[in-house]
């Protein structure tokens, strides 16, 4: 996985990247899982745009926090891997569950390119799913556990499988109260 992102992470990003690599492999790892505020503060110091109600749990690996944006009450579960080589936007009330793999890159003939990912509001990406670079996950989508999201999905539907396909509607449960 590290090798995959080598061509463009090591180039031209300078001191900030080196500093983040040092911090993320040492101090950042040692922050206890429920200490959301401390973890958020570290990420914000490295340029992440995180709402003060967003939660990132322990064991989450983020390659470039300055590309990460999270809305209100969104959360990233334990052990998720966020390869944010390109901008990653996460909406409000969205949950990325434990061990998910969000890779803001795509491979084309021996070369990897950074590709942004947009995840909407009220999305639930269930455990161990993969989101491939360049995809947009619209509002209200539920991605089943272990799915691979590669293609376009319609909003307020349930998608599962490899590649993730729409299985049925998800009843609208947007903000009411």
């Amino acid at each position: 996985m590290t090798r995959l992102c080598a061509p463009y992470t090591s180039r031209g990003r300078g001191m900030r990247l080196i500093l983040w690599r040092v911090v993320s492999s040492t101090v950042f790892k040692l922050i206890p899982s429920p200490a959301y505020t401390i973890r958020r503060a570290v990420l914000v110091a490295f340029g992440a745009q995180l709402d003060s109600t967003s939660r990132i749990r322990g064991g989450v690996r983020i390659s470039e926090p300055w590309n990460l944006r999270m809305g209100r009450k969104s959360s990233i579960g334990e052990g998720a891997t966020i390869w944010s080589h390109a901008p990653l936007t996460i909406g409000s009330r969205t949950v990325i569950s434990q061990y998910c793999f969000v890779q803001c890159a795509a491979r084309e003939v021996d070369q990897e390119y950074p590709k942004p990912i947009e995840i909407g509001d009220d999305v639930w990406i269930a455990a161990e799913s993969v989101i491939v670079g360049g995809t947009k996950v619209p509002n209200g989508v539920l991605v089943g556990a272990r799915s691979v999201v590669r293609d376009a999905i319609e909003s307020w539907t349930i998608a599962t499988g490899h590649p993730a396909k729409t299985r049925r509607e998800r009843p609208y449960q947007g903000p009411k109260s």
Binding site: R72, K73, G79, S92, R93, Q98, Y99, D122, W124, A126, A127, E128, L142, A145, R146, G161, H162, R170, P171, Q173, P175, K176, S177
Partner: protein, 187 residues
């Protein structure tokens, strides 16, 4: 404002015990030398696990709540397995859970606004081998003497004596033993 999430279904005792267990797991359990299976077995049993004395749990495995874990004789949980036992997880005798597998014991009701937690038990029958990096969904029962191939995702119950692979995992053939049945003593 979005609807508030459902209140935690876990009792105060459960939460305190998980903090205590978390501390034990991060220290005495995690940093125990690999051959010290009896030591880790003892730690788990002190926290209420129902383990046969010969059950093995490797040091880097994560057990969410030992009091919900049952393991038969010579059942094994390998390194980096995450055993999310919100409900009871039962492993029969000689069951092997290989590395990086995830036994996921709870989901959420996504058709209720506050998405309450739904814990569901997982049962794996005697002699079954769950290969590396398999995902086992909540509420799944896997039969006896089956094999689930690496990287499979198990969302439905699986029968006994089958080789199952894929996402979702499906039986592809019978498991037939090429050698003669051994007696219990020499097995």
């Amino acid at each position: 404002m979005s609807p508030n999430p459902a209140p935690s279904p876990h009792s105060v005792k459960n939460r305190i015990m998980r903090v205590v267990w978390g501390c034990v797991q991060a220290t005495l359990f995690r940093f125990s030398p690999r051959p010290f299976h009896a030591w880790r077995n003892l730690l788990l049993r002190m926290f209420g696990a129902d383990l046969h004395p010969s059950a093995r749990v490797y040091p880097r495995a994560t057990i969410w709540a030992p009091w919900n874990l049952s393991m038969g004789a010579r059942a094994t949980i390998a390194d980096d397995v995450d055993c999310y036992c919100v409900e009871r997880i039962t492993l029969g005798e000689r069951v092997v859970i290989s590395q990086y597998s995830y036994l996921c014991g709870a989901t959420h009701d996504f058709e209720l606004r506050n998405r309450p937690l739904i814990p569901m038990p997982i049962t794996i029958g005697a002699g079954t081998w769950i290969a590396a990096d398999v995902f086992v969904a909540p509420g799944v029962t896997i039969g006896e003497e089956s094999v689930v191939g690496a990287r499979s995702s198990v969302f439905t119950d699986l029968p006994s004596w089958k080789v199952c692979v894929g996402s979702p995992a499906k039986p592809i053939r019978d498991r037939q033993m090429k050698d003669a049945e051994m007696s219990e003593q020499s097995a």
